[in-house]
Symmetry: C2
Subunit: 196 residues, 2 copies
């Protein structure tokens, strides 16, 4: 099953490499987040990596787009460097975004989160777009594949205690009733409010 | 089919991103290789990325291991940087190795190549190793999956003229009759001799 294959490879080929104490610095993702707070004098809402799983498979280049006016790019966490399968000093880095939100007394404030799309979904959408032979099969089964990806990733994370608390999956309907892309900032704020 | 899915994702999620004129520098992989030659005063055997596809799926951390005494790590090509699916300034870099080879007059010389394992195979082997439910299925079909990966990647590369000349796939039997891992340096030298 393609969706669960992507989920296993995303966990074993990426999340399992970047969350625990790995890389030349031997730091846990949580430590990189605390270092970020010290260096930039800001507070991250949670010591978690928010992984966006949009049902339509559409992943923009950056989270900041004209459809998401509430989000701005901040800088990245410190890089993790490790040699993997012949690639010397391969670099892994995670991005921080700041989201404008109204506080109770109406003053503007920013909420900082580490967030990104689930990369295999972007790649999968590219594959489907270019690939004559399989396109019709994938287009028909797209919804099942994304759902399987989400459910399997959720299950695999639960089996790994050292990773599950540091990763927040957001599986969401990314298009509104007119077919427009929703503001990703609002999607993240909703989840933040729920977690608090 | 899992093998061809991995091949499509490796091409669309990586090779198509790193070979053409991409990244903040807008350089082609061939230009990065020529820059490397100027900077380090060495000559690369070919302006190609050698991708190793070992039949056993075993991919060591670096190409340099005690089983491959003829290979040494050199430095990396210049990095390519691009924002992908929410990860700002994601870094892609390729490694150069130098291989000891005997010249005609018996003098020692080095041959420089950009080479790495096909990372999805390493990830796939990790997934199979950890995963109770599917392991027996994968272990049985491992040979078909690697073969499908190779054949599909070969086909997809042929369909993209701007990439196929800059990528050399080496599908090889990586264990000798005693079950020991062969010297990867010799595998690469054999292919270099064939291409000349
Ligand atoms: N956000 C994010 N940042 C990363 O650094 C990263 N690295 C991997 N992944 C995702 O994890 C999974 C497992 O990766 P694997 O390395 O086996 O396959 C990778 C790998 O074979 C190759 N590849 C991608 N980036 C690199 C790279 N920098 N160096 C070498 N190979 C790479 O192309 C495949 C597809 O990559 P993505 O489609 O970006 O998603 C991958 C994949 O879903 C990443 N996701």
């Amino acid at each position: 099953d393609y969706g669960s294959g992507m989920a296993h490879s995303f966990f074993h080929g990426y999340l399992k490499l970047i969350i625990p104490h790995t890389g030349t610095s031997e730091k846990h993702l949580e430590e990189l987040m605390k270092d970020y707070e010290d260096r930039h004098h800001v507070k991250l809402e949670f010591y978690k990596l928010f992984i966006l799983i949009p049902k339509s498979l559409y992943c923009s280049t950056s989270l900041k787009t004209d459809k998401s006016p509430s989000i701005e790019e901040s800088s990245s966490l410190e890089e993790k460097v490790m040699t993997v399968a012949g690639v010397q000093n391969r670099v892994y880095k995670n991005s921080v975004y700041k989201i404008k939100s109204e506080s109770e007394n109406g003053r503007k404030q920013y909420k900082y989160v580490a967030a990104e799309y689930a990369t295999p979904l972007k790649t999968f959408k590219d594959v489907v777009g270019c690939n004559g032979a399989h396109s019709s099969y994938y287009a028909k089964h797209k919804n099942d594949i994304v759902l399987q990806f989400y459910l399997t990733l959720q299950k695999v994370l639960k089996e790994h205690e050292n990773c599950t608390d540091f990763c927040e999956l957001i599986f969401y309907d990314d298009k509104d009733e007119n077919g427009d892309i929703k503001d990703v900032g609002q999607i993240l704020l909703q989840r933040i409010r729920k977690l608090q």
